[in-house]
Symmetry: C2
C-alpha cells in the first residue's frame, strides 16, 4: 500500500490548526484532540495517511468521532481508551476486522481524534472525511447522501457505559445519540458509519486531512517569514475576506447539547461604519453584513485573528476581540438538493434559502 504521508506527533500541530480553520467556529477545540493524538502516537507509533483509492473495494472502513457541546468537550478531556473501546466494540459487532480508520469531521476536535484510533489500532487513516468542515449533527455527513447508515453505532462515555444503536434513519441516530450524550454529561465517543472501500471512494470528501496539515503549515511559515498570515490562508483556500471588525455583542446559550447564539461585530479599517452578524449552532452557519444575508451554510464561515491568522471558536468569542471573517467554498457534494436539505440554512431554522456566495 502506498503511503501518502507518515504522521508523527509533531505533525499534529499543523493538523490541529488546520482543523480549527475548517471547524468554522465549532467542532470542539482541536487542542484537546491534538494532545490525545500526540500521546497515542508517542506510545503506539506514527499514523500512515493513505489515499482512499489505495483501499480495495471490499475493505471495511470505520469513522470515529467525539460528540457533544464544544464547551463540555474541552472541559472533559477524554482518554484515548474510550475511543478505541467504541472502535473495538463496533468491530466485534460487525464480526470482521476493520481495514482502515476514517475521519467523520475534518473540522474541530474530530480532525484529530481519528489519529488516536489509527495509532492505537495500528491501522492506516484515510485522507478525507464526511463533511470537509464541521457540523453540529451526526447525520450531516456526505455519507448520508450515499445511503450509508450511521448504525450499528457504538457510543461510549468516560465512565464505562456504552450503547449500541440500531435505528431506522440517521436522523433518529442523531436524536438518540444526542439524548445519551447529554445524559452522559455532555460528551461521548462514537464509532459508526461503517462502509466498504467502494462506498467510501464515492461518499467521502477527499484530501481534507492533507488540507488541514497544509493550512497549519501555511500559517506557521507565514509567521516565520513575517508575511501576512491571513493573506496566505486566503490564497491557500480560495477564500474571501468578508469582514474585519471587533466583537461588540455576544448572545450564547447551551440548548439540548448545542452551543447556540449570535455574535455582532462593528467594522474597523476598510469596514469602518459597517456591521456584521454571525449566527452559530456550535458552528458559524450564517453571516449577515449591514443587515443583509451574505454567506450561509453549507459554505464555510470562519473567524481568524487579524495578527496571527489563527482561528477562533464561537465559545472563545469575547467583547472587543478584533477578528477577520472569511468565507470558504463548500464541497460540491453539499450544493446538491440533497445536500442543501441536510445542511442548508432552513434545516437550522434560519428563514433564508441558500444563495451561493461563490459564483464563477
Amino acid at each position: 500500500m502506498e503511503i501518502l504521508r507518515t504522521i508523527y506527533a509533531e505533525d499534529m500541530e499543523d493538523i490541529a490548526t488546520g482543523g480549527a480553520i475548517l471547524g468554522t467556529g465549532g467542532g470542539g477545540d482541536p487542542y484537546v484532540g491534538k494532545l490525545m493524538a500526540q500521546q497515542a502516537i508517542r506510545k503506539y507509533g506514527p499514523v500512515q495517511l493513505i489515499d482512499i483509492d489505495q483501499l480495495p473495494d471490499d475493505a471495511l472502513v470505520v469513522p470515529v468521532c467525539m460528540m457533544g457541546a464544544p464547551t463540555v468537550m474541552t472541559e472533559k478531556l477524554p482518554q484515548g481508551d474510550e475511543l478505541i473501546n467504541a472502535f473495538r466494540a463496533l468491530e466485534k459487532l460487525l464480526g470482521r476486522k476493520i481495514d482502515a480508520v476514517l475521519c467523520g469531521e475534518a473540522g474541530g476536535v474530530n480532525s484529530t481524534t481519528p489519529f488516536v484510533v489509527a495509532s492505537m489500532a495500528g491501522l492506516p487513516l484515510v485522507d478525507g472525511d464526511g463533511m470537509g468542515r464541521a457540523y453540529p449533527e451526526l447525520q450531516m455527513v456526505t455519507f448520508s447522501m450515499h445511503g450509508v447508515s450511521a448504525t450499528p453505532m457504538v457510543l461510549c462515555d468516560d465512565k464505562g457505559n456504552s450503547l449500541v444503536l440500531e435505528t431506522v434513519s440517521n436522523g433518529w441516530t442523531e436524536r438518540l445519540a444526542r439524548a445519551a450524550t447529554v445524559e452522559m454529561g455532555g460528551s461521548a465517543l462514537l464509532a459508526f458509519y461503517s462502509m466498504s472501500g467502494a462506498t467510501a471512494k464515492k461518499a467521502i470528501v477527499r484530501g481534507t486531512l492533507t488540507l488541514c496539515a497544509a493550512l497549519g503549515q501555511t500559517l506557521r511559515e507565514a509567521k516565520a517569514a513575517h508575511v501576512d498570515p491571513v493573506a496566505a490562508i486566503v490564497d491557500k483556500l480560495e477564500a474571501k475576506v468578508i469582514f474585519h471588525g471587533r466583537v461588540k455583542d455576544i448572545d450564547r446559550r447551551t440548548v439540548g447539547g448545542f452551543a447556540r447564539g449570535t455574535a455582532r461585530f462593528e467594522g474597523v479599517e476598510e469596514w469602518k461604519g459597517h456591521d456584521f452578524r454571525l449566527d452559530f449552532q456550535n458552528e458559524f452557519l450564517m453571516a449577515e453584513r449591514d443587515g443583509k444575508v451574505l454567506v450561509t451554510t453549507p459554505d464555510l464561515i470562519t473567524l481568524v485573528e487579524a495578527e496571527s491568522g489563527l482561528p477562533v471558536t464561537a465559545d472563545s468569542l469575547r467583547y472587543g476581540l478584533r477578528l477577520i471573517a472569511l468565507a470558504l467554498p463548500a464541497n460540491p457534494q453539499w450544493l446538491t438538493p440533497a445536500g442543501i436539505e441536510l445542511v442548508g440554512p432552513r434545516y437550522f431554522k434560519y428563514d433564508v434559502d441558500y444563495t451561493p456566495f461563490f459564483t464563477d
Copy 2:
C-alpha cells in the same frame, strides 16, 4: 415441568385488575397490556405459569417490561412485536436460548406484558416479579439487591429503533434508558436483568402473578355475590383502610418522563372533617393524614372506588371522585437497609424516614 396454572385469554381480566391494585396508582394502565396479552394468547396459545423452583439452577431467565410515563404508555398502544423483538435481540446477544420469561414489575401494565412474550415465544412464565408492586425507575427491583445487572439490556421503540446498553450500574442504566425513552416519544419496550435460575430463586418476589389473579377474582366474585368488594380485598391482602374521601385538589405534571404530583382529599363518612394527601411519582409514594405522614414507600398505597373496589390510577384522578385509600405491607426484601436505600422515601426526595405502618 409442573405447571402451576395455564393462563388463557379470559384469565387476563383478573390478572390485569389485580395488577392495577399492585400498581399503586402508577405502572401504566394494565388495560393496554391486557389487550396485547389477549391478542397474543389467542394467536400463539396459552401461557404456562410455573413456580421458580421448577427451573434448574442453570436456566436462563429474562424479564421484559414497558418503560415510560403512564399517560404516554396508554396513548401509544404498543404492538406485541416490539416486545418480542427486544426479547429475541437480547437472546441473540447472550448467545443462549432463554428458558423462561419473568415479570419485572407485577403492578400496572407490566403485570401483563410478560404474558405477551411468554405466549409468542412459547416459553413458561415464572410466577413472581422484581417489585411485588410498581415503581417508577428500573433499578428499583429486588434483583438489584442480589447483584443482578440490568445490562446487557435491549430497548426497542415502535418505529424500529433499538438500543443495546452496557453500563457500570443499574442507576446509569435507568438514566440512559430514560433519556432514550423520552426521545423515543415517551415509551419503550425492554428486555433486561437476565439471570440464572439459581439467582432468580433468591432474587424474585414470589407468587405475585398468582396474587394478581386472585385479587381480580376476589373483586369479580364480590361483585357477583353483592358483598363489599373493598372488605374482600382488604381481607385478601392483609391491607388496612387508611382513608375514605373525595378528591378536592390535584397538582400533576410530567417531568423527565415521570408523572409527578400531589392529590388532596377531604374525608367522608367515618373520615368526615379529616384531610388526606397523596404524593406520587407515577406511583403513590407517601400518604399524609391530617398533616402527618402515615404510610410511605416501600409500603404500598393504593386507591380503589368505594362502590366497586376497582383500583384508580394517579392519572385518572379527578375532582370530586370518591375513593378509599388502602395501605398494603411491602415485601420483606424492601424493608432491609439496602431496600430502603433503593426505594425509601428519601430516594424520592421526600424529607422523611421510612416508618413502618404495619407493626406486629
